[in-house]
């Protein structure tokens, strides 16, 4: 009997313990981002849906940000962290411009972002970042990060909800993985594709992700950064864009050194 009482008391303790409902300071707001570097341009894209669980919070929330005349940052993960992270990065870039009378170079922005992210190593920004733009030598570049600042320069990267859907496709189409040229033909060189091909791949990637992932859709924003002096007619020329797409040139943020940034928009399925 005593044993029985003891057991039931233990059982009671187990089942009647107050359910700890600790505050969770993080959330996943879905969406996906992607960037591809070209020889003299860089393309940074993201969808515009913001969701929480199965609910769409808004069909238009910005995930891709113009930082300088040669740098664009895409953020994905927890939207509140993303927005505040971008705010902090922009503030540091402004301080730099006041101190040095020039905009911060891309590779320095890349290192600064790693420092800011690692600075919160033990309460991280739950954000996956991709930085794209033009290096000082005029080449297109993409830097990708994890939430605590590990980073790497690459030719292309997808991140966010549909990363696993997009990355193997990009491996195949951008890095030519598992492809061999015909005997005697030129070898494939990654990071050398023409802008029109890259843009078509970006659009195909996002329509695929929209088709197969519930957190991706509503709208697509593609930022194109071009090296100074590069002809722009392959983007803004008559009939260069697929139907349903619009392009606008964005104003220079600094002195206007010659690099150009364009914003290409397109709608995505809303279901």
């Amino acid at each position: 009997m005593a044993m029985h009482a003891e057991r039931s008391a233990a059982l009671h303790e187990l089942t009647s313990a107050p359910i700890q409902h600790a505050f969770n300071p993080y959330e996943d707001n879905g969406g996906t981002i992607l960037a591809i570097a070209g020889k003299d341009f860089s393309v940074i894209a993201g969808d515009t849906r913001q969701s929480q669980g199965y609910s769409i919070q808004t069909r238009y929330a910005r995930k891709v940000w113009q930082l300088t005349d040669r740098a664009v940052l895409a953020t994905n993960g927890f939207a509140a962290d993303g927005n505040n992270f971008v705010k902090k990065v922009k503030q540091r870039l402004e301080w730099y411009e006041h101190a040095h009378h020039k905009q911060m170079p891309l590779k320095s922005i890349a290192r600064m972002i790693q420092t800011i992210l690692y600075g919160k190593r033990f309460f991280p920004y739950y954000v996956y970042n991709i930085l794209g733009g033009i290096e000082e030598d005029g080449t297109g570049a993409v830097y990708s990060y994890d939430p605590v600042g590990t980073y790497e320069r690459e030719s292309c990267r997808a991140a966010g909800a549909a990363q696993s859907i997009l990355q193997p496709f990009l491996d195949n189409q951008i890095y030519f993985k598992n492809q061999t040229p015909e005997p005697g033909a030129e070898p494939f060189i990654p990071g050398n594709l023409p802008l029109s091909t890259v843009l078509a791949l970006v659009v195909d990637s996002f329509t695929s992700a929209t088709e197969r992932h519930i957190e991706v859709g509503d709208g697509l924003e593609v930022y194109v950064v071009m090296k100074k002096g590069r002809p722009t007619d392959d983007l803004v020329g008559e009939g260069k864009l697929a139907p349903g797409m619009a392009v606008e040139e964005l104003d220079a943020l600094g002195e206007g050194d010659g690099e150009k940034t364009f914003l290409v928009t397109r709608s995505l399925k809303r279901d």
């Binding site: 600790a22 505050f23 300071p25 929480q52 609910s55 919070q57 808004t58 939207a79 040095h100």
Partner: protein, 278 residues
Amino acid sequence: MNQHPAMWGHPMTPHQAFNAHTAFPLATPNPMRNQHASSPVSHTQQPLVTGTSVLGLKYKDGVMLAADNLASYGSLARFRDIQRLHPLGNHTCLAVSGDMSDYQYLKKELDGLLREEEALSLSDSHPALHPSQIYAFLANLFYARRSKVNPIWNAILVGGWDATKEESFLGYVDLLGTTYSSPTLATGFGSHIAQPLLREAFEKKAGIDGKGELLTAEEAEALLNECMKVLFYRDARSLNKYQIATVTKEGVQISESKSAETQWGFAEALRGYGAQQQ
């Protein structure tokens, strides 16, 4: 900074210490670093007295917000005459759901801020805060508090009229510091029940891009009345006594409390639920 050996050991004046090339105040010591709290710090760990969902809608002349008058204590309908729509200045209005004590703290904080702003405007040509600025303040406050793991347990809609841009404003901010805007918004249960109805009615007239003609004041109010009724039918923490705030270029106007006309006749024939069987 002068590193010459002759200067070693000589403290610098503030003027000398100023470094024009410092881009980040890394060296500033944090005075709070070594202080210990004298008693355990208490945080809001869960909401206690709560208000249910609130709705917001952009229409032709501005923004409309709706909230019922109930503050619940768990499942108890504890306070049945609480106003959850709060005007801030002439062109901004809050609609607040979530913890009501945190809401009262927010009211006090924001009213204090607006009083200071008003004092400045009396002696100076100090411009009034725009809705977007109040919204930014709230977003920063909510994010700062969540980052201290001490959240303000609310989901808030900010409705307003931007007198400079001559356009309406509607934004959402919650305890995580998450922000977004959309022509129609709802918090909590309303985001499941009312938001689809709001979107459907909004897009039917304005189109999916929202570029068409918006709903008129009459249509918007009728839509909110309908949504509050549907919420009352299905949200167990709601009350059929609610208010609607309109924010236009004329200012903020908050209606008297009102009720939706409900129909319960169908319930007579229902059998098999609850205690009553057959």
